[in-house]
């Protein structure tokens, strides 16, 4: 049903999903792909910084408690690099306390979502943040998200 590469438009906007817990990562990946995004994955903060810089995604969905390098530090590095600083970073954390949210925003995250976060809620937040970028992507010839999703729902590539 949702085989990744075959159905994904190579011009579709790219999202980097960072989470060390595979079940959660796969869930968001699958959902975002279903809705027409291209998705890259990272399992720790270091990998996240590296992929953000090499793949230049439109947005990063960043878990905060991560091995090797945590999400706060990874966000700081992404935002410190002139090349990657405009990438939207959405913190998505199982730490629901306001202190964590504050720290995340201080680190440079553009938004904060607490787990459990339903995939549709994440999608809504992403759309909210990416709308202007998406329209500019559309100008350069990338198909709009809705059209991709519609085609896939109809079972067409």
């Amino acid at each position: 049903m949702t085989k990744k590469p075959a159905l994904v438009d190579e011009h579709a906007p790219l999202i980097l999903v960072v989470d060390d817990f595979e079940d959660n990562r796969s869930m968001y990946v699958e959902y975002l792909q279903f809705h027409g995004f291209r998705v890259a994955e990272a399992v720790n903060g270091e990998e996240a910084v590296e992929r953000a810089s090499s793949l230049m995604p439109l947005a990063v969905v960043m878990d905060l408690s991560l091995p090797v390098m945590d999400g706060w530090e990874a966000t700081r590095r992404i935002k410190a690099d002139a090349r990657t600083k405009d990438i939207r970073v959405l913190a998505l954390s199982g730490h629901a306390e306001s202190a964590h949210e504050k720290r995340a925003l201080e680190a440079g995250c553009d938004d904060f979502l607490a787990k459990p976060c339903l995939p549709q809620d994440l999608l809504a937040k992403l759309r909210e943040h990416l709308d202007p970028k998406l329209s500019s992507a559309a100008v350069t010839g990338a198909p709009g998200l809705d059209s991709v999703a519609k085609r896939r729902r109809n079972g067409k590539p």
């Binding site: 049903m1 949702t2 817990f21 079940d23 959660n24 869930m27 968001y28 699958e30 959902y31 279903f34 408690s65 199982g94 730490h95 629901a96 306390e97 306001s98 607490a114 787990k115 459990p116 976060c117 339903l118 995939p119 549709q120």
Partner: protein, 494 residues
């Protein structure tokens, strides 16, 4: 006995104290065992008005065997009793028995005769001399008091008066200090040495000189320092425990949320058909996973809320806001619930209600909970939310509080259950938890939050008629209330 007691309490307490002090001074200023024994005998004789007092101490004889040797006796003099020498191995001898007995014993007539005490209307009681922490006696004091000679001459109990007990203890302590108590059997000697070395059982001696006072002062100072250190360590430990507790709560929360995220997320995806269509039957089942997963999340949130409030880990943010606006906001947010309930929900805003200065979000959480509870437990009729100055039945204090009352025409709560509704996991009828939904933690959280804000929640109810839950909030934060009160008092004084 009774005579003894009367004698010892017959004089004013001041005189007794100075008598005791004089005794101690003499006792601890004296370095010879025989002299100490005489002083002890004299003092006891005076206190009890006894005519005969014998002090027999345990001594090593020339042959190396321990004996009880009499030191002093008779009237006010210090005449030696060379005849009194009892072998410690003679365990049947009443004096040896007295030495080992836990309590004082009365001496039989033949022993009295044997140690040369006159039978002239006196009863003789033998008391063991011990120093603290020692099982074995280091001597025996025989006190003769005037009283009719009992017919029975057995080993009846002979309890000494408090003054005599005190004198015996002091005497024992001083004698123990002055020399090893060599006469005790070997096993007992070992124990006494050990007891003496161990700081826990070491007797606290009365200071006997300037040096002694200085020494005990130093010891007390050391104790104080050690105690301070202990307290400091405890404070640090408590702080660490509190930090560990909040860390634990944060971890718990995270550990619960991570798997729930996957459960709720995948279920939601399946319900949306991301993984393809399912039969209506499967969709219903998925719906149940979804609603139970969400319910579990609510419980976890509530339990963690309670834990946080109880651990004092709820940060409060103070602001000034209108309680009426807050109520309107709550009702607007609950509009879907209100519409579904078909109840008449209205507000009554009293005149001149001043703004509240407290944590707005927490206050809203409480009001939200009270109103949604009222709607939930009211099958038909109305819910009225009123805001007013003062509280029910509060008299003079009333003017300083603001009340937000939620009155419903619901099922009501019986008298016996009224305090229980604020306990965790309680809905009055446990079986009703399911039809009414919720975790049963709402009111428990509300009351704890209200307390944290310096307020309270009151409940009035009548079964079948309805309930009124009233949130009573101090209009100003506690500190300000105190300041205002102080200035008022000043104004009155003027």
């Amino acid at each position: 006995m009774s005579k003894e007691r009367r004698n010892s309490s017959g004089e004013p307490p001041g005189k007794l104290v100075s008598s005791k002090l004089a005794f101690l001074e003499a006792l601890f200023g004296c370095a010879r065992r025989s002299e100490v024994a005489r002083l002890g005998a004299d003092w006891i004789m005076r206190r009890t008005r006894a005519r005969h007092v014998v002090v027999a101490l345990v001594e090593d004889g020339a042959d190396g065997r321990a004996r009880l040797v009499g030191r002093s006796t008779r009237g006010s003099g210090a005449s030696l009793l060379p005849s009194l020498s009892v072998d410690l191995d003679d365990r049947g001898h009443p004096l040896v028995r007295a030495l080992r007995a836990p309590r004082s014993i009365a001496l039989p007539a033949k022993t009295r005769d044997a140690i040369g005490l006159p039978p002239d209307g006196e009863r003789y009681a033998a008391h063991a001399l011990r120093s603290p922490g020692h099982a074995a006696g280091i001597g025996v004091v025989v006190v003769g008091v005037e009283s009719p000679v009992p017919k029975r001459t057995g080993t009846e109990k002979a309890t000494p008066s408090r003054d005599v007990r005190w004198a015996l203890a002091m005497l024992g302590r001083r004698l123990e200090e002055l020399g090893p108590h060599r006469g005790a059997p070997l096993a007992e000697r070992g124990r006494s040495v050990e007891a003496k070395r161990s700081p826990d059982v070491a007797p606290r001696e009365a200071p006997r000189s300037a040096e002694g006072i200085e020494e005990s002062y130093g010891r007390l100072q050391l104790e104080l320092v050690q105690q301070n250190e202990r307290l400091q360590r405890q404070a640090v430990e408590l702080e660490a425990a509190s930090a560990a507790k909040s860390q634990f709560l944060a971890n718990m929360s995270h550990e619960f949320r991570t798997p729930l995220n996957a459960i709720l997320g995948y279920t939601s995806m399946m319900l949306q058909g991301v993984s393809g269509p399912f039969s209506p039957h499967v969709v219903r089942q998925l719906g149940r996973i979804d609603s139970n997963g969400k319910h579990l999340l609510t419980i976890i949130d509530d339990v963690l809320d309670i834990a946080r409030i109880e651990a004092g880990k709820v940060p409060l943010e103070r602001s000034s806001f209108s309680p009426a606006e807050l109520v309107e906001e709550v009702l607007a947010e609950l509009a879907p619930l209100v519409t579904r309930s078909k109840l008449s929900v209205s507000t009554e805003i009293g005149e001149g209600v001043p703004p509240l200065r407290t944590d707005r979000a927490k206050t809203k959480q409480i009001v939200m909970n009270l109103v949604s509870n009222a709607i939930k437990f009211t099958p038909s009729g109305s819910v009225v939310v009123s805001v007013s100055v003062g509280a029910p039945a509060d008299g003079a204090k009333a003017a300083r509080v603001t009340s937000i009352a939620v009155t419903d025409t619901g099922i009501g709560i019986a008298e016996a259950d009224r305090s229980r509704v604020f306990e965790a996991f309680r809905q009055v009828d446990n079986s009703s938890t399911r039809p009414y939904g919720g975790t049963g933690l709402g009111l428990a959280i509300c009351r704890r939050l209200a307390h944290a804000l310096g307020g309270d929640i009151r409940l009035e109810s009548e079964v079948g008629r309805g309930s009124t839950f009233t949130l009573v909030m101090p209009r100003r934060p506690l500190r300000n209330v105190r300041r205002r009160r102080a200035s008022k008092a000043k104004g009155l004084a003027r």
